[in-house]
Symmetry: C2
Subunit: 335 residues, 2 copies
């Protein structure tokens, strides 16, 4: 399998990007095509033992900055993201991974000069993330591709999320829920209530509305919302986890015996940190485009990049894009 990596994606590019590619090539036997500044990529590769690994480089003379927008994606045809996507579009690679600017990466895949286009019948692509829960992980979508939605979009997010959860994440018969402000049918804004009606009639394992509390409690495998509330959920959760740990540290600092306690309890805190570490997740799928696209966090380290490449590999192996296409046709035929 060949996965193309935008090597100029992360904030510290291309260092973690290249190291993550080396790790993923070794761990999963992947060919990772590195796209970006050839000299800088070569210099990074020289730091690692790459014997026997398939890590070809494709040069791209420029890249998209963390503060650039869709205009830059359109104007810079030779930016690393665009060059990388072109390889997928031309069937020279099976998937595209970047830790670059999320908005730009979505734009490149959806409307850029080498956009992959949408799967036929899909109204809007949706960005996913995996949220750590009491019991495992919950797939949340959309977290930022669509600030406004229609009931049919939410329905399609649910369909795509269910297929991806089953085939890309290995969750059997995923429990699908709509994010709302109450459990009962009839709760929520009109768009949610209308999506509820669509989902109730579908073949999905739709369990009804989920409330905010159901996300961390792990009461659903797939939770569907618009990209506005999804984005608020993600950013709130990251900050809240940090704030809580900060509260505890503040309190501990004021108490000498608690300080000793904290030292003894440190391994437990480290384990918590590992459990919440976004680099364990790597990146989120952009579902609905006609190809496997994984977008990681700008702060990605090598481990995050490796995991984002694994996410892409799992989606390719799970045949997620084809199954979404077939799923849409199946629903259209009333199966």
């Amino acid at each position: 399998m060949k996965i193309v990596l935008d090597a100029m994606g992360s904030d510290a590019r291309p260092t973690p990007d290249v190291e993550g590619a080396v790790r993923a090539a070794r761990a999963y036997g992947l060919t990772v095509i590195l796209v970006g500044d050839q000299a800088r990529i070569q210099a990074e590769l020289a730091k690692h033992d790459t014997r026997g690994l398939a890590l070809p480089i494709v040069h791209a003379p420029t890249d998209i900055g963390m503060t650039e927008h869709v205009e830059a994606v359109k104007a810079k045809r030779e930016a690393s993201m665009n060059v990388a996507l072109k390889l997928v579009k031309d069937k020279q690679a099976d998937a595209f991974v970047t830790a670059g600017n999320t908005g730009a990466a979505m734009a490149a895949a959806i409307v850029g000069p080498f956009a992959l286009g949408r799967i036929q019948g899909i109204k809007r692509p949706a960005l996913t993330t995996l949220f750590p829960t009491n019991t495992g992980r919950c797939l949340l979508l959309d977290i930022g591709a669509n600030t406004e939605v229609k009931p049919e979009y939410l329905y399609q997010f649910a369909l795509m999320g269910s297929i991806y959860a089953e085939r890309g994440l290995g969750i059997r018969q995923p429990r699908v829920a709509l994010l709302s402000n109450g459990e009962e049918e009839g709760k929520g804004p009109m768009v949610v209530r209308e999506a509820y009606a669509l989902l109730k009639q579908s073949q999905l394992n739709f369990i009804g509305n989920a409330e905010g509390r159901d996300i961390p409690q792990g009461n659903a495998d797939v939770i569907v919302c618009d990209g506005y509330v999804g984005n608020v959920v993600i950013k709130l959760s990251e900050a809240l986890a940090k704030t809580l740990v900060g509260f505890i540290k503040d309190e501990i600092k004021q108490r000498p015996l608690a300080m000793v306690g904290a030292l003894l309890a440190k391994p437990a805190f480290d384990a918590l940190k590992a459990r919440l570490d976004p680099s364990a997740i790597g990146g989120g799928m952009l579902l609905g485009v006609d190809g496997v696209v994984v977008i990681g966090h700008g702060r990605s380290d090598a481990r995050a990049i490796q995991n984002a490449l694994r996410v892409a590999k799992d989606a390719v192996e799970g045949n997620v894009v084809e199954l979404i296409r077939a799923g849409l046709q199946g629903e259209a035929n009333g199966k």
Copy 2:
């Protein structure tokens, strides 16, 4: 000052309700009118030393259950919530407090048989909460009264929130922000972008958009959103805090030395718990109705009830309702 308390509000009614009233009457010199089953209230009062305290009882033969809806509010004219609100409506009390069913309490105040009505010019009332932050507290509204909003509603929520934060919470020139999925102007759904334009032109200390992370980070004093996303934020945050503490406990249990550490660090965890304890907040104001209405959590204990009564007292003393009325007129006159 006379505050009327629905003594049949909390899940464990009337025990914590009456005890909270006794505490508040003593601590703040309030007259607390207790509305509900006279015999049960008297039995609770007999458990406390109430010498010198003003705790009159007004009998109400029935009450609204935790699972009842707006229909029950309309049908049960003599439910404790309705009887209590009638006292405010008839100017026999300065404020109304309940720890009852939030939806029913809002319905009673807005559309019930003794509804207080909206402040003239207010399109929609909004429910508030205080969110604990790194630096103090952030007033968040709406958290559940309106699942659909228009730009003007958000603008009015900001105006009401700012006045309440200044006069009821003692925050000078509160920083007001709109919850969105990006900091820049132009981010967010259309309704948020249009509200941004209204707020930019206003006299408020509007600091622009806030993202999810800005809520716990304390980067704004008042954050405005629709009741759908506000409800998700509140329920997510409560559950996430519990989940994180659960994670830590799980990890600690697996490590004998960490267990000793946890014992030593226990005071710090207890302090965290106190900091996050919703009973320290007591209740949220329902802003926009023509009277002071404070709605507490069903799980309220006596301390929460006492604090909810303090919230009501502060709002009455701060003259919040009159100032909102004046603020609306001021904005209407282009002051």
